[in-house]
């Protein structure tokens, strides 16, 4: 075992920068998947921000005369069946994609993680109640809860976001509770209890930091699922309403013309793939960077 020796050398190196933030960015910029994932995610974000101030054409203007044009100098990726510019649609679509993703995953994470941690910390009937409620929610697919919600408040982007968010909760409750239970069984939690800490502090200081890496990775996957769910809901007319473009709607519009102009499906598909891939890589990188055991100099 040469660990102690090499470890002590390493400590000397890392403690030269007592502020964690310094070391974090230095390590982050060397982490390949963090950099690639961050770049891709940033591209999507920039596209969404850019669409607020500039798009090559209006994403809402219909020009049926120039429908289904191939890529040209005027329309870089061509036009869709209603003659709208694909590049503009993708840029504006990034906005709804990001919004749906962030808000829905935010709802899912907030409720899911809190409930999961409570279930794990309190055990007994509290745990039973939370888990059975989450089973109950799990039994309804996002589409069904969106239909129910739409029946009450009317279809639209907000409805779909809330429905997707609710649909995310049970998955995250289960994941959080399962991982938290494993942490609760660890000896350092017993040691923390032996030093006089109560359940709440242990949850915040010991359990949450240790389940966070798992949640970050799952969060990126949930983001991808949210994008796909949004596409499905838009297809049913329950999500983003026309004329508001979204990548999911573009995919569904393209599917009727799959043989005539397959590229119409490829562009939004590629955009979704880039966003999901970027987020997954970013999540992977974050997991590595947030874990002090993996935070070695590479």
């Amino acid at each position: 075992m040469s660990t102690p020796l090499s470890a002590s050398v390493e400590v000397g190196a890392t403690t030269a920068h007592p502020r964690l933030a310094n070391g974090f960015w230095r390590r982050a910029l060397r982490h390949r998947s963090f950099v690639v994932g961050g770049t891709l995610s940033l591209m999507v974000l920039c596209a969404a921000l850019l669409s607020l101030v500039w798009t090559p054409w209006s994403a809402y203007e219909i020009d049926v005369a120039s429908k289904l044009r191939p890529p040209s100098a005027a329309h870089w990726l061509g036009t869709d069946v209603l003659g709208r510019d694909i590049v503009s649609l993708l840029l504006v679509g990034a906005r709804s994609t990001i919004m749906v993703g962030i808000i829905a995953v935010g709802i899912g994470l907030t409720f899911g993680v809190c409930l999961g941690l409570i279930a794990s910390a309190r055990k007994g009937w509290t745990e039973e109640l939370i888990m059975r409620m989450s089973d109950f929610t799990f039994a309804f697919p996002a589409v069904l809860s969106a239909i129910m919600l739409a029946a009450v408040v009317g279809p639209g982007m907000v409805t779909s976001i809330i429905a997707i968010g609710i649909f995310q909760i049970p998955t995250l409750v289960r994941l959080t509770r399962g991982s938290a239970n494993a942490i609760w069984a660890r000896e350092f939690v017993l040691a923390a209890r032996a030093s006089g800490k109560g359940g709440f502090r242990i949850t915040i200081e010991h359990v949450l930091p240790n389940v966070l890496p798992i949640l970050i990775v799952q969060g990126t996957i949930q983001f991808a699922l949210a994008i796909l769910a949004e596409a499905a809901l838009s297809y049913l007319g329950l999500g983003t309403q026309p004329p508001q473009p979204s990548w999911g709607r573009m995919l569904n519009d393209a599917q009727t013309l799959l043989f005539q102009s397959p590229m119409l499906a490829v562009y939004p598909g590629a955009a979704i793939a880039v966003a999901v891939l970027g987020l997954n890589l970013l999540g992977d990188g974050l997991r590595d960077l947030l874990d002090p055991r993996l935070a070695r100099e590479r």
Binding site: P4, T15, K123, R186, L190, A194, D291, P292, R293
Partner: protein, 337 residues
């Protein structure tokens, strides 16, 4: 001082623990009694599953909610059994502390060691973050961690096992507790490190006048580190007394069996270790009489009727056996063999 010097610091009377296991309710500990004054040390010895750790966790109030505790645990006269969890939290890490077996897992991998050592101080005293950090560095220095001031911001994985155990000791002793429970503190360490860690603990006990309960399955560790000892088997104390007395006289057949099972230097090559036939009884399914009856060489029918009452075989030396006349006559032979 004159009053408290003679009164026991911690007094346990007829402690019993019922655990709800998957195999049904189990009597994990029964009839455990002892008292410790300031500065006294007690060893608990026995094989796995005999109730040593359950006893320790009962003292710390860390058993699962489903466990039922009977008897009495008094810390300077105040009763701990039935104490609310909030009140117990104020005692843990402050007046009663515990060192755990596995230093590799007893530290949170996500926090720096400085933070973990400072934590009990922040929790139980009014000191600021800066003061707690200073105190943590002083503690880490005191437990012999080299370069403590520099390494206070390092993470547990950057230390060796022995160093980590030093950190957990610093953590346990941060608030200067009155009672220290060390649950197999050296089992996971190299033999060379074992001695250093035990010496360190002994220094603290002497320096601060703490009472210590040392749990171990290693008779050598017990022999060198505690004044009195209790041998546990099947959730009961089968023999207790001053360490010297127990080691020289060995009243209980189980104690004798433990001694025979020890490897010895200088034994002839090829000598087989003597084992105790059979296995520890299931706690969920204990025999009605003496818990050791099924493995005992000198068992009689009356042993199986009821749990024997401890017999005094010397000053403060009790043996829970009906046949001490036979077993103690044989014990002379054991030491000679």
């Amino acid at each position: 001082m004159s009053v408290s010097a003679n009164a026991p610091l911690i007094e346990v009377r007829d402690l019993g623990v019922h655990l709800n296991t998957s195999r049904g309710p189990a009597l994990a500990v029964r009839g455990v009694s002892f008292a410790l004054k300031r500065g006294e040390t007690l060893g608990l010895v026995g094989e796995s599953g005999c109730g040593k750790s359950v006893t320790a966790l009962a003292l710390m109030g860390l058993l699962p909610d489903s466990a039922v505790i009977s008897g009495s645990i008094r810390l300077e006269g105040s009763e701990l059994v039935g104490l609310s969890d909030a009140n117990y939290c104020k005692l843990r890490g402050n007046r009663i502390s515990m060192i755990f077996q596995e230093p590799m897992t007893a530290l949170n991998p996500m926090h720096t060691i400085g933070r973990q050592v400072a934590e009990p101080l922040r929790r139980h005293t009014n000191c600021s973050a800066g003061e707690a950090r200073k105190e943590a560095i002083a503690l880490l220095d005191r437990v012999g961690l080299p370069d403590a001031a520099k390494r206070v911001d390092a993470y547990p994985h950057q230390f060796s096992g022995g160093q980590r155990q030093r950190v957990t000791i610093a953590m346990a002793l941060a608030c200067q507790p009155d009672v220290l429970i060390a649950d197999e503190p050296t089992t996971a360490l190299d033999v060379t490190i074992q001695g250093q860690i035990l010496d360190l603990i002994a220094d603290f006990v002497a320096e601060r006048g703490m009472s210590m309960i040392l749990i171990s399955h290693d008779l050598g560790v017990i022999a060198e580190n505690v004044q009195r000892m209790m041998v546990m088997y099947g959730g009961t104390v089968v023999e207790n007394g001053a360490t010297d007395a127990v080691f020289t006289r060995m009243g209980h057949p189980y104690t004798q069996g433990l001694f025979r099972a020890r490897p010895r230097l200088g034994a002839r090559k090829g000598t087989r270790l003597k084992t105790i036939a059979g296995t520890v009884p299931e706690l969920a399914d204990l025999p009605s009489g003496c818990t050791f009856a099924d493995r005992c060489a000198i068992v009689e029918d009356r042993c199986r009727v009821a749990l024997p009452i401890p017999v005094d075989v010397g000053a403060g030396h009790g043996v829970r056996c009906l046949r001490t006349d036979v077993s103690m006559a044989e014990a002379v032979g054991v030491l000679g063999a």
